[in-house]
Symmetry: C2
Subunit: 409 residues, 2 copies
Amino acid sequence: MLSEAQVFLRCRECGKPFGHILAYVCDECFGALEASYNPGRLSVSRSVIEARPRSMWRYWEFLPLIDHSKKVDIGAGYTQLIKADRLARKLGISRLYIKNDTVNPTFSFKDRPSSLAVSKALEFGLNSVGCASTGNLAGATAAHAAAAGLPCYVFMPSSVEKTKIKQAALYGAQILLVEGTYDDANRLAALAADRFEVGIVNVNLRPYYVEGSKTMGLEIVEQLGWRTPDRIIVPTASGALLSAIYKGITEAEHAGLISDCSVAITCAQPLGCSPIVRAFRENSDRVEPVRQPDTIVQSLAIGDPGDGYQALKVVRESGGTAVALTDDESLEAVELLASTEGILAEPGGAISVAALKKLLEAGEVGRDEEVVCCVTGSGLKTVELHPEAGNVRIIPPALEAVRKALDLR
Amino acid sequence: MLSEAQVFLRCRECGKPFGHILAYVCDECFGALEASYNPGRLSVSRSVIEARPRSMWRYWEFLPLIDHSKKVDIGAGYTQLIKADRLARKLGISRLYIKNDTVNPTFSFKDRPSSLAVSKALEFGLNSVGCASTGNLAGATAAHAAAAGLPCYVFMPSSVEKTKIKQAALYGAQILLVEGTYDDANRLAALAADRFEVGIVNVNLRPYYVEGSKTMGLEIVEQLGWRTPDRIIVPTASGALLSAIYKGITEAEHAGLISDCSVAITCAQPLGCSPIVRAFRENSDRVEPVRQPDTIVQSLAIGDPGDGYQALKVVRESGGTAVALTDDESLEAVELLASTEGILAEPGGAISVAALKKLLEAGEVGRDEEVVCCVTGSGLKTVELHPEAGNVRIIPPALEAVRKALDLR
């Protein structure tokens, strides 16, 4: 048990400090609260971290859990950073890595923030948890709630892929499919958080929740031998993951784990829901909400991104860029990644690969850069989005049928 | 590059030694060939292994690849061994672990043998690979073939779950859905292997292929601190995984990594396709094929198990047992595992949990035993098998609808 004073909240906008409390909005300026750490907590060496078990919790000094007996760990994080040489050759770039977060316990990166938020719910003594979800968070929160023994309430737009709905239901959560957009589901979850005292992981537990996603950034720098790549491309919905990856990397520099946190953080969004990309491209400081997202990339269909402004700031500060991709470009990137590296992503995960392809072609990313594409969720959840392909054939059990089907001799 | 003499094949039945060649049947007695290692190769210490990267390839001395430049490694293996305390309490057993192989690169344990077999195909200079599959091997072989840059031909019964077909197709493999059983698909694959010189991973590459599955056993003993549990329960189709787990553990004893390889290896099969269980229960030495498997547990629907006799021998020698489960028992085990531990398995993966429940109730497994249940594949591939559940509701975006749906106040 660590001293509470080592972890506290503070307003991201006006800087007002808060204690270690269950809150998410500044009562002075309505800014978002974020977790902060006393420098003493972050004094940990590379070798100490390297000797720890391979889960996101190896970076516990950077995570705002105080009582570690409350940790809900079903194995999130420390996923492989794959050197993607075959894909790199196809794209015409020399150094490319895939951060493969499809192999998390519930098959998306959302296990990272969920593991942390559900642990915090236990620490704060909450009796139930929940989330507003575009699909992946539903399963992640439901699974961690199951492992914690807490009831779980999931709010999702009814348009979410069937597999994601069934997945969350199988963990035993109560699933509410809201007739409306993600933003409608999110507002409802926020109301439910207040009215029924539910710990909604991405609403009232949000300042803690987002810290879990930092571990993707910490892992990338550790797996590269404690240094940053030139660029990290991040599939972006609310902006929380993108912001968290950068926060993790800058904190790693403050802690002395890396000597330089320079890295161009690059944002990829679907064209039919790309408010952050649009603000970036228009040189605007204001992330204008998209009222009706129009994309099959459900997992990134957040019209009013909660951390949009922060993400925009990170992209600019870090020297990154932002790019929007058509649905076809994302679907094609799924097939490109699967057929070159054997990694099956959902379109919202492979969009980082689509973004790299587009930015290379446009000359906005150099072919000599070292790039990490974050691949955030498994394509098993979204096979329904791909049309029947010509490489599937039904044949009778006869060798001649094989020869004909495959044109072999 | 190691000396070839360190790895060779020999007949499992008559013992005749073969070289390091592409063959799978003894030309004297028609017995199955298996990989063997000179004792010198297996001299590796615990600490050397522990310092290696976390993939199945950390045990390379136990794997029959000679030229490591041919290794096709997309991250298979070294999956978590989860201490399943909530599930243990539900079942009334004190020490229970889940070996969670749902989080492999293609979301089943089949990545282990595929990684090895496709590497061997490269080493032998083959121009294409393929497999006969009940579903999971299809994706695993296709993904590794993609990463190796080899064409891939998959033979599956047409009854396999749609998600598994689409998954394999997305990696770019040629998929042949054979009108018939798995055994029909398997025979066709064997003919194609001969006729078109394809490296069918589980036919002509089989002696090498099965060695990959040993790593599940090696990981279990390492993750327990270099010792065996009392019992390992294994979902069983061809019998190859079960036999391989035991082979790995006995080899670990020979190598001095563990002092005692005692462990009751226990076989779980679906009632509608349980030839090994039947032979065990009837005290027979002959595994009588099941002509028409009758089960929704597609991944275990192999009527004529290639390693059935070997598996039966291992179960008996190791003091294990064998049990058949109804489809409902396997489906219920999926929900039990998901709702207690947050691990989503397919019915053919959770069948090990169903088996434990049944054996505990029957008094055939003691409540003081330390048990490991192998959970071999992800439930994302089989959500279609579960009926719509009562915990999924569609609501309008209004707080009152939430209150009513959840009966909250």
